[in-house]
């Protein structure tokens, strides 16, 4: 990968951090969770900076039986350690699931508030 191309692909990878269809998204979640930078993340995954860009541009692994195959392909392409990559991706998926659940709970709470009649079922309103 030429240096110019690496910078270009790096910017594309950074934009894909917002796209859950790509590993970039899961790696960004994991990196933020660990509070580390790209260099530290690459080191943790056993690859260099170029490998990290390659990983980010790979498709996010499918669930189920294809999960390991997908990660193996991504790790092989990027020269990353499959075991460490698998661990990081599983952690990132848990974070994504928790965030999704938290978001859903917030939405449900908001809907409950909206559905409630003004003044109805409010503790203390019935006197006593």
């Amino acid at each position: 990968m030429r240096p110019d191309d690496r910078a270009l692909l790096g910017r594309a990878a950074a934009r894909l951090a917002g796209n859950p269809a790509f590993l970039a998204h899961l790696l960004a979640l994991y990196r933020a969770h660990r509070g580390i930078d790209d260099a530290a993340l690459a080191d943790e995954l056993g690859c260099d900076g170029e490998g990290l860009v390659r990983l980010a541009l790979c498709r996010a692994p499918r669930r189920g039986t294809d999960f390991r195959t997908d990660l193996a392909s991504a790790a092989a392409h990027a020269g990353a350690d499959l075991t460490r990559l698998t661990s990081a991706v599983r952690r990132a998926q848990s974070i994504a699931t928790l965030r999704g659940a938290a978001g859903a709970n917030l939405l449900l709470a908001a809907r409950d508030r909206d559905d409630r009649e003004p003044g109805a079922d409010r503790t203390g309103d019935h006197g006593g």
Partner: protein
């Protein structure tokens, strides 16, 4: 290359396409590395872009569309590089068009905000534009001579001061004894008449300059 002798620096399109159809997770990265830099460079060569990142976004969009619908590419009709180049070109033109429209909207809003008085069809547009006392004062200054009728003059002064209370105008017009709806109607009538008259005066003054 499909249908020819592959040069070593050219991507193996058939292999990439096959991997993508098989949903190989690394195929997207391989395709990015193979096509993205040349797509961006081509767009930048062909278009003078104020924002060079637009070429990157367009090339990225073309690749993402291809990843999403790989079967739309028909190798019998041409190369994958050509297919992606056309898609990127189309995406860039769409982005530029969107930018132009957004820019036009911003300019249009700025025009309205920065122009004290409209320049076309002065009477009607001046009336529409006269929402504040400040603008009204500007209009009167541009229209030249003051008003002869002292009642009109006092009404105009209230308007310039931004007074909105119907009672104030009703007192000047001597209609305080009428029902409030009637007062409102007459006050509105008086204001509209004055605005129209000033608009005409302004237009006449502008035409003689």
């Amino acid at each position: 290359m499909v249908g020819g002798t592959a040069r070593t620096d050219e991507p193996d399109e058939r292999a990439i396409h096959t991997r993508l159809l098989r949903r190989d997770a690394a195929a997207t990265a391989v395709a990015f590395e193979a096509f993205y830099p040349s797509l961006v460079a081509r767009l930048r060569r062909r278009h003078r872009l104020d924002d060079p990142q637009l070429a990157e976004v367009a090339a990225e969009q073309a690749l993402l569309d291809y990843f999403e619908h790989p079967t739309k590419f028909d190798s019998a009709k041409g190369t994958l590089a050509g297919y992606l180049a056309m898609a990127a070109e189309r995406d860039l033109l769409n982005l530029l068009d969107r930018e132009r429209r957004r820019h036009a909207r911003v300019v249009s809003i700025e025009d309205v905000a920065l122009t004290d008085l409209p320049r076309n069809n002065p009477v009607e547009e001046a009336i529409d534009g006269m929402t504040t006392g400040e603008r009204l004062a500007d209009l009167r200054a541009q229209a030249g001579a003051g008003l002869r009728d002292p009642v009109d003059e006092r009404v105009l002064r209230l308007m310039e001061e931004g007074v909105r209370a119907t009672a104030a105008y009703a007192a000047v017009l001597g209609i305080g004894h009428l029902p409030i709806d009637e007062q409102r109607r007459i006050v509105k009538q008086a204001k509209d008449r004055l605005k129209k008259r000033l608009g005409r005066r302004r237009a006449a003054a502008a035409s003689t300059r």
